[in-house]
Each structure stands twice: as structure tokens, then as C-alpha cells.
């Protein structure tokens, strides 16, 4: 988990076990609260196999991140993984997606409310 300014960058690699995914979900929530991040970029380009559990975890991460006033962007999903998720009926409606980390950061910058305090911080700066 990398921190770039107000954005958390998470890279998922290879075979993701159910327990690891759940651990990530918990860690991420805590890190967002602690760091005050406004965006989470999850790089899934290293994920080759996806099941319904991981799909649900991703949707849940997006949901909880939203509750914490941050937004989630999924990056670099492989075609096969995308097809599998769609066939499973998991279209992840609440999740933003991008082709590359660069695009994802740009997306967060463009649409982000300046911070979770909704502009207060900007006035004080």
C-alpha cells in the first residue's frame, strides 16, 4: 500500500487468497481513516484469476471507501478478468475504472472534492 499525497495506491498481485483479500479490506478502511486519503487506486493488472468472492470484496471496498468520503478507482483489469466478472453478474456499479494509474490519478484529481472536509481545508490554507 503506497501513499501518494491524498491517494492510496494498492497493487494486487497474483493469486489472492480469500483471507488476504479480507485483510486488505480491513487495512484499507483503517488507513483511509488514519491518513485522510480522498482516493484509493487499486491496481489489479497482476490479477489473472478472479472469483465471485474477490469480486464481492472489490465492491465492498468501494462501498466502505465511499462511506469514508473517498473514491475507489480500479486500474488495469485484464480482459479475461473483466469478462469473468461480467459473466458472474458483478459489474461493480459503484466503482470507477481506468486503463492506467496515470488516468486514475487524473480522474481523482478532476472530480475530487478537495478533501473530506469539503472545502474547509482549502479556505484555511
Amino acid at each position: 500500500m503506497l501513499r501518494l499525497g491524498e491517494v492510496l495506491l494498492v497493487t494486487l498481485q497474483g493469486d489472492l487468497h480469500d483471507s488476504t483479500a479480507q485483510q486488505l479490506q480491513e487495512d484499507l478502511a483503517e488507513t483511509i481513516v488514519r491518513s485522510g486519503a480522498t482516493g484509493v487506486v487499486i491496481d489489479v493488472s497482476g490479477v489473472e484469476i478472479v472469483d465471485s468472492f474477490l469480486g464481492r470484496i472489490l465492491a465492498e471496498i468501494a462501498g466502505q471507501t465511499g462511506l469514508l468520503a473517498a473514491r475507489t478507482v480500479l486500474v488495469g483489469m485484464r480482459p479475461a478478468v473483466a469478462i469473468t466478472l461480467v459473466e458472474l453478474g458483478l459489474t461493480l456499479p459503484g466503482v470507477h475504472t481506468a486503463l492506467s494509474t496515470e488516468v486514475a490519478l487524473e480522474l481523482l484529481r478532476q472530480q475530487a472534492p478537495s478533501s473530506r472536509f469539503g472545502g474547509l481545508r482549502q479556505e484555511s490554507q
Binding site: 483489469m77 485484464r78 480482459p79 473483466a82 466478472l85 459489474t91 475504472t97 486503463l99 492506467s100
Partner: protein
């Protein structure tokens, strides 16, 4: 002669084999005049005779192995290609399968006549009948082999063309930096939409395309199944980080879709490919301006 008596009485297949080897030349000569051989080997009569000899040899080999009823007998493998060529040539000439089959059947009588006249005078009626039956079965098997080979050739052709159709029918076109388009033509079934989805997603990665346009101008009808395929493709592209626009919805199709209650949900739709391209360019902040005084300036 005990020797001969034993041989003839024991195995008609043996007798047939000997007969075929002995009369190879004559059979081939007679076959060369039959339409199946005459029309396929048009260069010279000798060529037809040679082809006939090859077939006779194969038949003798099959008879030798005593597998006259088996179209998969090893003896046929050597002439299978030649037989396929003959069958295919006759089909190309416009003959129906039944006509080809009856032409092949015409190969039997000359051989049979030759066999009857060739058998010793004192052969028992039973033995003659057994030999003729064996020969008939053998010729029948030859017919089966030719038809089988011709049919499998046709099947291979159909398979090849189906694959070609799948490849040809789904080109992904790069319209602009970051914009790809797929012109869909023909009926969308599950297999084709799967191919479309895969090729589109691959090219999204390859081109780093943020927008993909699915143009359905060439799709004759849109029913709930096609709509579902479109939705799936759009959803998969979105998961990869690209936005999909569906274009080319003709007035009649728009009407049908409303009548059927088909909902494309949040998918962006446009009437024509040009409209879709315009929308995407606008989203990208790219504009096309008509050439000014300083010459053509695009973007």
C-alpha cells in the same frame, strides 16, 4: 487339384484378391471408360487407367486383410486422397450426392462380369455366389469410403469458413488516439458476441483506448438476447476503464426496442457512428475545425 479346391472353398476374399491382382490391367481399362474416371482424369486415358489401377490395388489389399466391410481398412488410406479428389470433382461438376453415388455404383458391373467369366467352369454355384457377394460388398465399401471422404472434406471446409467468418466479422478500428470502434455486421449470437467482446477488450488494452464505439448499423434485428450481449460488452469494457457508446441504432430498431421494453440502462447511445465520434471527441476535449486561411488545421 486339392490345392486349388482348398483355396477356393476356404475363402472367397482370397479368391477375390487373386482375381483383382490377376485382372488389374483389364479392370482399370474398363473403369477408365466409366464417367467417374473419364471426367475426372481428362488429360489422357492412361492417367485414368493408372488411377484405376491404384484403386484396384487398394481393393486387393483390403480383400487380403479380409476386411471387405470396413471402410476404415488400412488399404484405403493410400487412395483416400485420390478418391476424395474424384468425389469432389464430380460434386463441383454439379452432380448431387445421389448422382455421384450411382456413378460409383456403375463401377461394379464390369468387374462383376469379369469375375464371373474368370471363375473356373466347374466352380460350384455356391462358390460363385459367395465370390460375387464378396465383390459386391467390397465395391459397396469403396462407395462408402468415397462418400465419407467427400462429406468430411465438406465439413472441414464449413469449419474453416466458420472460423474465417468469426475473424473477418469483427475488426476493431482505431478512429483516433484513445478511440476504437467495432462495426458489428450480421446476427449477434453468443459465440460471435464472445469473440467481439474479447477482441474489443484486447484492443482497448493495446490502444489504451478510453472510448469504444459499438456500431450496430449492420445488425439486422435487435432482440433481448442481442441487447443482453451489448450490455455485457459495455459492462466489461467499463470494468477495464473504457466507456462504451452504442451507435447505429436505426429508427425501426429504436422502435422495436421500445416496443420490446429493452432497456440499455445507462449506456450512452447515438444514432450514427458520426454522432458517436462527435460525442467522444467532445468528451476528450478535441474539436475538429474547418480549414482556416492558414491551411488545414485539425484539432
Amino acid at each position: 487339384m486339392p490345392d486349388q479346391a482348398e483355396g477356393t472353398a476356404a475363402a472367397p476374399t482370397h479368391e477375390i484378391r487373386e482375381f483383382l491382382r490377376r485382372r488389374r490391367e483389364q479392370i482399370a481399362q474398363r473403369w477408365a471408360d466409366e464417367p467417374v474416371f473419364r471426367t475426372v482424369f481428362t488429360v489422357s486415358r492412361d492417367e485414368a487407367v493408372e488411377a484405376g489401377k491404384a484403386v484396384v490395388d487398394a481393393l486387393a489389399q483390403v480383400a487380403d486383410a479380409a476386411r471387405v466391410e470396413d471402410p476404415d481398412a488400412a488399404g484405403f488410406t493410400t487412395v483416400r486422397e485420390q478418391l476424395a479428389r474424384m468425389g469432389a470433382a464430380r460434386s463441383r461438376a454439379g452432380l448431387s450426392t445421389a448422382q455421384v453415388s450411382s456413378e460409383l455404383a456403375a463401377l461394379r458391373p464390369p468387374v462383376e462380369n469379369l469375375l464371373v467369366s474368370d471363375l473356373p467352369e466347374d466352380a460350384s454355384a455356391e462358390h460363385v455366389r459367395a465370390c460375387v457377394t464378396t465383390l459386391s460388398v467390397l465395391m459397396g465399401t469403396l462407395r462408402v469410403v468415397v462418400m465419407q471422404t467427400a462429406l468430411s472434406e465438406g465439413q472441414a471446409l464449413i469449419d474453416r469458413q466458420r472460423l474465417q467468418l468469426l475473424e473477418v466479422a469483427t475488426p476493431v478500428i482505431k478512429l483516433w488516439d484513445g478511440i476504437v470502434a467495432v462495426p458489428l455486421i450480421g446476427t449477434l449470437d453468443s459465440a460471435r458476441s464472445q469473440v467481439v467482446m474479447e477482441t474489443l477488450l484486447e484492443s482497448i488494452v493495446e490502444q489504451q483506448a478510453r472510448y469504444a464505439i459499438l456500431d450496430i448499423t449492420g445488425v439486422p434485428t435487435v432482440d433481448s438476447l442481442v441487447a443482453q450481449h451489448l450490455m455485457k460488452t459495455v459492462a466489461a469494457a467499463r470494468l477495464m476503464g473504457a466507456e462504451c457508446i452504442v451507435s447505429g441504432i436505426r429508427p425501426a430498431i429504436a422502435q422495436t426496442m421500445v416496443h420490446l421494453g429493452l432497456d440499455l440502462g445507462t449506456v450512452v447511445t447515438r444514432a450514427s457512428l458520426a454522432d458517436a465520434l462527435g460525442y467522444v471527441l467532445h468528451q476528450l476535449g478535441v474539436g475538429i475545425v474547418t480549414p482556416g486561411e492558414n491551411g488545414a488545421v485539425v484539432r
